[in-house]
């Protein structure tokens, strides 16, 4: 399958350099003591974006801290609570995020923005029908990149793959910009959908496109490595994963590289990465249990080698969000646990 490279977007290196420049500019404004709420919200969003693109949990933690400060210092502005709701959602504190959105509404926050945020939270919680009640009319009333992309993702999670594909295509056609970030993220999400639906060819097409658009996009590189490993290209997978495991503070990459190294017979190095991942997951579960329960479960199901721990984490994750993915994780963990005890 070949895809059109349109829309043409700015080279990833340029976009990331400019992102750093913008963050520096806003940081100096905040430090200079003359920040506006709009500027502080933008700084939070930019740092969170960098964190998501470069696999930096530290950035995301910083964004959360800034959002908490903003609410504490400007509790009368709806935008403070919307910013914090978004950051709470990143760390899977969905109930707290919904509460923030209610506060934002009471402070006069715009309903279009708040409804869009609520839809994202409903989707994360597996409340797909409620999310669809917001997403579908929003895309009909205002068919732009963001509304079409959001609807595509929702259809994908609901298993409506044809609808998801058509909305992904529509979102791409409606993109009006040059920043590579939204398009790379869209292509990455589209590719992930096909990984989950066992079409690795399509997945590689879209995730490959995301990586070409933005080579430094860490999650996309990580999933491309997963596809490399699945087709037996262990060398390529390791070559992709080692730099990610070194540069990112997200233990997913250490977990992945440990698994691939182990499968390739490099047991000593695999053990080193496995142990690093375990230590990091212990830290992250202490601080952000809701956000990392599912990923930690994956770790214990694979190189971690403890299906009981995995099952406990998977069940906790399911209690927080009743999504098909969460249920599938519990089923896998249960199967492994049963198999181990035979």
């Amino acid at each position: 399958m070949t895809i059109d490279s349109e829309p043409v977007t700015t080279a990833g290196a340029i976009a990331l350099a400019n992102l750093e420049v913008r963050i520096d500019g806003y940081v100096s404004r905040v430090d200079g003591g003359r920040p506006t709420v709009g500027g502080r919200v933008e700084l939070i969003e930019l740092i969170a974006l960098r964190g998501q693109l470069l696999g930096s949990i530290g950035d995301l933690e910083q964004a959360v801290a800034l959002a908490d400060d903003l609410v504490a210092q400007v509790p009368s502005d709806a935008r403070s609570f919307v910013a914090r709701a978004r950051m709470r959602a990143v760390f899977h504190r969905f109930a707290a995020a919904l509460s923030d959105l209610d506060t934002a509404a009471a402070l006069g926050g715009g309903s279009v923005v708040l409804d869009a945020e609520r839809a994202g939270l409903y989707q994360a919680l597996g409340r797909y029908d409620e999310a669809l009640e917001i997403r579908r009319p929003a895309a009909v009333a205002n068919p732009v990149f963001s509304t079409l992309a959001a609807l595509a993702l929702l259809h994908g999670e609901r298993g409506e793959l044809d609808l998801a594909e058509s909305r992904f295509t529509a979102a791409s056609r409606h993109y009006r910009g040059t920043s590579p970030f939204p398009m790379a993220m869209l292509e990455f999400q589209r590719g992930k959908l096909w990984i989950e639906n066992d079409d690795h060819g399509r997945a590689r097409t879209w995730i490959g496109s995301a990586v070409r658009r933005l080579p430094a996009y860490v999650p996309a590189q990580g999933h491309l490595a997963e596809l490399d490993a699945d087709r037996g290209d262990t060398g390529a997978a390791i070559a992709r994963l080692r730099p990610l495991a070194l540069s990112s503070d997200d233990p997913d990459y250490a977990t992945q590289v440990a698994r691939v190294l182990s499968d390739a017979g490099h047991t000593d190095e695999a053990r080193t990465w496995r142990d690093k991942a375990e230590a990091r997951y212990d830290d992250l579960l202490a601080d952000h249990y809701a956000a990392f329960a599912d990923h930690a479960a994956e770790f214990w199901l694979t190189v971690g080698g403890d299906s009981e721990r995995a099952l406990a984490l998977a069940r906790q994750n399911l209690s927080l969000r009743q999504t098909p993915r969460a249920r599938a994780l519990v089923r896998r963990a249960s199967s492994w646990s049963v198999a181990e005890h035979r």
Partner: protein, 401 residues
């Protein structure tokens, strides 16, 4: 957590965000016209131009068919485009900074290559080009300006504070030999608008700029437009062809301009621009033609912004080159024109020059500030009331008036 399916939202890219446009005869080289397009507000060391956008000056000949209140320019159909594009960096300089190569394509189709941040620009085919980090030539008491618009009365201090103090931008400077590049054009009056458009098979207009403050203030929400009270027109406006507005939103633009211009006229308590019987403001159609007008036959004049437009409204011949020079106090000129029509003392925001005056010599824009000030974002909301609220919340405006 890295799998959190947050929907991708459109992200503004600063490298295509137009900050300002200037058009003026060269003060040091007669016969040359200087075009300046500044992007990336509050740029800093490390900022780069997009390789997925074209930075374009669009030039068309204009004539003045008749003078008097409500007069508008007649724009010709011949167009002379100057398009600047950049590549992604592949090398670094001695200091380790990425090096960008650029290309300037002239109306003849000839392309002139240059390197960003190279002040020693070579001249070829009647053109010199500079592009890179420079000091922002804007000067304005932004706080006082927003407060003036929001409150409906002049609130400037005698000695204002330059809100753009120390800012940098990414500037593109094209100095062209008029006879060589525009020699085929009829007349000496030209309309100039600047745009950023996407590169690729199907170019999309991202931003455009003509005169000062048309998009953010004249089309902003002052709270007086009764036709479209809560409609942010700026993105719609941005996507329009400056020389050929589509019919879809013309009525909305007209309603907004009529209301806002009338409100501005009333700031000093007297009406200098009486509305027509149908409620149309005499300057609405002029501002809908959002481009600067320059007379290339006239010499450089530092304070000539809107002189051609004013002369046309007054039914007299213009005397200067018009356009907008880098040191021109276009903010004061715009306010005075809109509020008093020139019938009375000049309105001043108390800020009369930039941090560093622009040069009379190429590349004209002052060298960048090595320690730039922080970003000021209070002009971003469409509603001027929200801009004022942001300033109050940041402690930049006193709540007692």
């Amino acid at each position: 957590m890295t799998d959190h399916n947050s929907s991708p939202r459109a992200v503004a890219e600063p490298a295509i965000d137009i900050a300002d446009v200037y058009v003026f005869p060269s003060p040091s080289r007669p016969g040359r016209l200087v075009l300046v397009l500044n992007v990336f507000p509050n740029a800093r060391q490390g900022a780069l131009f997009s390789d997925a956008a074209h930075y374009r000056f669009r030039i068309r000949p204009v004539t003045i068919p008749a003078g008097g209140p409500g007069s508008v320019f007649e724009v010709g159909s011949d167009e002379y485009d100057i398009t600047v594009a950049f590549e992604a960096p592949t090398t670094t300089d001695e200091a380790g900074n990425p090096v960008q190569e650029g290309f300037c394509t002239l109306p003849s189709g000839v392309t002139v290559a240059f390197r960003a941040n190279d002040e020693q620009a070579t001249e070829a085919f009647g053109v010199r080009v500079f592009a890179g980090l420079r000091m922002d030539p804007l000067f304005i008491d932004g706080t006082g300006y927003v407060e003036t618009l929001a409150t409906g009365r002049v609130t400037f201090q005698e000695n204002g504070t330059n809100s753009a103090e120390g800012w940098n931008i990414l500037g593109i400077v094209v100095e062209l030999d008029v006879a060589t590049v525009l020699g085929q054009a009829a007349g000496t009056l030209f309309a100039v608008a600047a745009e950023t458009v996407t590169a690729g098979k199907f170019p999309l207009r991202l931003e455009r700029f003509g005169r000062v403050f048309v998009k953010n203030q004249l089309l902003g929400e002052l709270g007086v437009d009764k036709v479209n009270q809560d409609l942010d027109l700026r993105e719609l406006y941005n996507s329009e062809d400056p020389f050929e507005l589509a019919p879809d939103y013309l009525a909305a633009y007209r309603a907004r301009l009529n209301a806002n211009l009338a409100a501005l006229d009333d700031i000093d308590g007297k009406i200098d621009w009486p509305l027509r019987p149908d409620g149309t403001h005499p300057l609405t159609e002029l501002y809908l033609g959002d481009y600067q007008v320059v007379d290339v036959a006239k010499p450089y004049a530092e304070d000539s912004y809107l002189e051609i437009e004013q002369a046309m409204q007054q039914g007299r011949a213009h005397t200067t080159s018009g356009g907008r020079s880098l040191n021109d106090d276009a903010v004061d000129t715009t306010l005075t024109f809109n509020v008093t029509a020139g019938n009375g003392p000049r309105i001043s925001d108390g800020v009369d020059q930039a941090t560093v005056r622009a040069s009379d010599d190429f590349p004209y824009l002052a060298p960048p500030n090595p320690d730039p000030a922080a970003i000021g974002g209070f002009l971003v909301p469409s509603k001027v009331a929200d801009q004022l609220a942001a300033l109050e919340a940041a402690g930049l405006v006193s709540r007692s008036r």
